[in-house]
């Protein structure tokens, strides 16, 4: 999109960015929806969806039609405006971080100097949506889920940021492109501790099992989205999948060298292949542990963050700073 800088009027660039974002969001939701169900099936010695299309490829389309045609039930005593607003708050901002992610050398909305901060700031709006959803549903289970989600996300943002900060200290830039370019050696090699901390925080930030306390269905039926149905539910789902995509992108940019890989022809564009492969590797990891591990308890989750991840990431940051300054 940057190539268009010179000759395309601003309005076309904006339209292209929005279309591109929408393609990524919906495309990712389709791919992830299919991937999750298929992988879950195979982890569980089943086949997953098989009926609609070849190996169930069209299952997600059918599901989409079903969700769209479903009635939106609003509970009698719910706070109606907030109840309808929550999925939108959750879904609307997920487009924005996609703008600054360097999918390849040329495919990037724009390269912000504070790219990392931008992504993290936008990503944390999701917590607000969860809180609003839990509150407006007027359901005790939803409220529980929302409270848990807030406590969890606020807690895990700190070690997440600290682990990424170690890399920012090494590269002296917040720009995501700058970080990709600074990696002669992938930072997973130089910063293994930060990588592991980020990996754990990544699961917690996206509210995925084993840290899916906000929607722990054996305790809270469905947590914050208990009362949501049809399209409002699927907006939450799409927001979750896009958030997974974004945290995986950040992991790719920070630890796996972004687009770096075996050079292909027209690499400034085809680098996106390597990028997406790495992203979906992380997505596979997220699905894999979700269908393998049981859920942690809430106090154990918080203990893990405050007692282990936070001190370790601080020490890691300190060591990084000392080494860099020497």
């Amino acid at each position: 999109m940057q190539t268009l800088n010179s000759y395309a009027p601003e309005i076309i660039r904006i339209v292209m960015a929005v279309v591109g974002g929408a393609v990524v969001v919906f495309g990712n939701a389709l791919v992830m929806g299919y991937m999750e169900r298929k992988l879950a099936g195979h982890f569980q010695r089943r086949t997953g969806p098989m009926e609609v299309g070849f190996h169930g490829l069209l299952q997600l389309v059918i599901d989409g039609i079903k969700l769209m045609s479903k009635q939106l039930v609003i509970p009698a005593k719910a706070d109606k405006p907030l109840f309808m607003l929550a999925p939108i708050i959750s879904f609307a901002p997920v487009f924005l971080p996609l703008l600054v992610i360097p999918f390849s050398d040329r495919i990037q909305g724009f390269d912000l100097d504070v790219g990392l901060l931008f992504v993290l700031a936008i990503a944390s709006i999701n917590v607000l949506a969860v809180l609003v959803a839990g509150w407006a549903s007027n359901n005790k289970y939803s409220m529980f889920g929302a409270f848990r989600a807030v406590a969890q996300n606020v807690a895990y943002e700190i070690p997440m940021l600290l682990s990424l900060l170690a890399i920012v200290f090494m590269t002296n830039t917040f720009s995501l492109r700058g970080i990709v370019e600074a990696q002669t050696v992938w930072f997973i090699v130089l910063q293994p501790v930060a990588f592991i901390i980020y990996l754990i925080c990544m699961v917690a930030e996206t509210n995925r099992a084993p840290f899916d306390l906000a929607e722990a269905e054996s305790e809270l039926t469905a947590g914050f989205h208990t009362e949501y149905s049809g399209m409002s539910f699927s907006l939450f789902m799409m927001a979750e999948y896009t958030n997974m995509f974004i945290v995986s992108c950040i992991a790719t940019v920070f630890f796996l060298g972004g687009t770096s890989g075996i050079p292909l022809p027209y690499f400034e564009y085809t680098g996106i292949i390597w990028f997406l492969l790495k992203v979906y590797l992380f997505m596979f990891f997220l699905v894999w542990i979700r269908w393998t591990y049981p859920r942690t308890r809430f106090d154990q989750l918080m203990n893990l963050c405050w007692k282990y991840l936070l001190p370790i990431s601080l020490v890691n940051l300190l060591i990084t700073v000392v080494v860099v300054k020497l």
């Binding site: 005790k140 529980f144 084993p210 054996s218 039926t221 269908w291 393998t292």
Partner: protein, 373 residues
């Protein structure tokens, strides 16, 4: 993890209504949880959503005709419920059971027990948030259901035992399939152990959740794996061996800690012991009839009170029958294990987090139709 929550009038408590429709109550059980934040101050189970008057029905038809009802109390331990009731009537009417029939009863009962434990294994881990083990457990369980379906005709609510024996002899195909199943499950148990039992999250979720002591169990009449998890080696199959259980070599697994982890391990190890019993029973299976020929068409029980207890998957099951001399019982009372096991919840779950309440209720392995009858 229990905490002492200080009762304070100024603090705002609220009541969370868990059930009758809730993913982790496994049936229509309702628990009223008085909560303070994440902590449960006072859990109160509310029963009666699937009450079907089985005991009352028993007072209106011939004693023998109550057999199908026994299967519908505990849909996971139906054959054991069958066996217990058949033993009660045999005891009352003084009928001898052929040895082959006794062996077949033991084999089918133990398969039924394994099936029940496998379902619990999967469902319990589902309660803890692990989605996958239930699929593996169901995979194994399906083999038992198929095998039993061949001889009993149904998959869950069997009516296989009769007064004086069992209704159908087992064939070579059944024996072959059962042996193959024992082989298969023995091969799979180490996998379960590696995947699940050794998992750190599983252990952290279960350890020191619930505090069952022998004294507490005695006070509430808690029996079965929970009692054994509290360190009491009490299993009716060993304590007062009924049927032909005295002829088999098996152990009663016990643990000392009395928490959910101990109960988990006791149940898990019981699967292995049940496999041992089935294997020995298949080896020793005597030839002969499976039905006593001299059972009267109209079964008149002599006047008096009769009692019979067996070890069901969830604990001690007792039938109590009062006869006035006619063919219709005057009164039937069934003591089902889950009812007593559930009554311990208000005391054990006090001060727990809501996630731990789910853990400890799962460790009880509740079957709701058995509680309500």
């Amino acid at each position: 993890m229990n905490v002492d929550v200080i009762e304070d009038e100024r603090q705002h408590h609220f009541v969370l209504n868990m059930g009758p429709q809730h993913p982790s109550t496994h049936g229509v059980l309702r628990v009223l949880l008085k909560m303070e934040g994440e902590y449960v101050l006072d859990p109160q189970p509310v029963l009666g959503y699937v009450h079907r008057c089985h005991e009352k029905i028993g007072e209106y038809k011939p004693a023998r005709a109550f057999m199908p009802n026994t299967a519908r109390m505990d849909y996971l331990g139906a054959l054991i419920y069958n066996q217990g009731y058949a033993m009660l009537l045999e005891r009352a009417a003084g009928i001898e059971v052929p040895r082959r029939a006794e062996y077949i009863r033991v084999i089918t009962s133990e398969l039924n027990r394994i099936q029940s434990h496998l379902l619990w294994y999967g469902a319990y881990l589902l309660d803890l948030g692990a989605f996958t083990p239930i699929m593996y457990a169901f995979d194994d369980r399906e083999h038992i259901l198929d095998t039993l379906e061949d001889i009993c005709g149904s998959r869950l609510t069997y009516c296989y035992c009769r007064v004086g024996g069992v209704c159908k002899d087992i064939d070579d195909k059944f024996i072959e399939r059962t042996r193959a199943f024992i082989e298969r499950l023995r091969g799979r148990l180490p996998m379960y152990e590696k995947l699940v039992n050794g998992n750190i999250i599983v252990q952290k979720r279960m350890k020191s959740v619930g505090n069952y002591t022998p004294e507490l169990c005695a006070r509430y009449g808690v029996t079965g794996p929970l009692l054994r998890a509290a360190g009491v080696e009490y299993d009716l199959r060993k304590a007062e061996p009924y049927s032909v259980y005295s002829e088999f070599d098996f152990e009663v697994p016990t643990e000392q800690q009395g928490d959910a982890w101990a109960a988990f391990n006791v149940r898990y190890r019981e699967i292995e012991q049940s496999l041992r019993i089935v294997e020995q029973a298949l080896d020793k299976l005597p030839e002969g009839e499976v039905m006593e020929a001299k059972v009267p068409k109209k079964l008149r029980l002599p006047q008096g009170d009769y009692n019979c207890s067996v070890e069901a998957p969830r604990g001690e099951l007792s039938y109590y029958l009062v006869s006035d001399g006619s063919d219709i019982p005057y009164r039937i009372k069934v003591r089902t294990p889950s009812y007593s096991n559930l009554s311990v919840v208000p005391e054990v779950c006090k001060g727990m987090m809501i996630a731990d309440v789910v853990t400890s209720m799962g460790a009880l392995d509740l079957v709701i139709p058995e509680i309500d009858r």
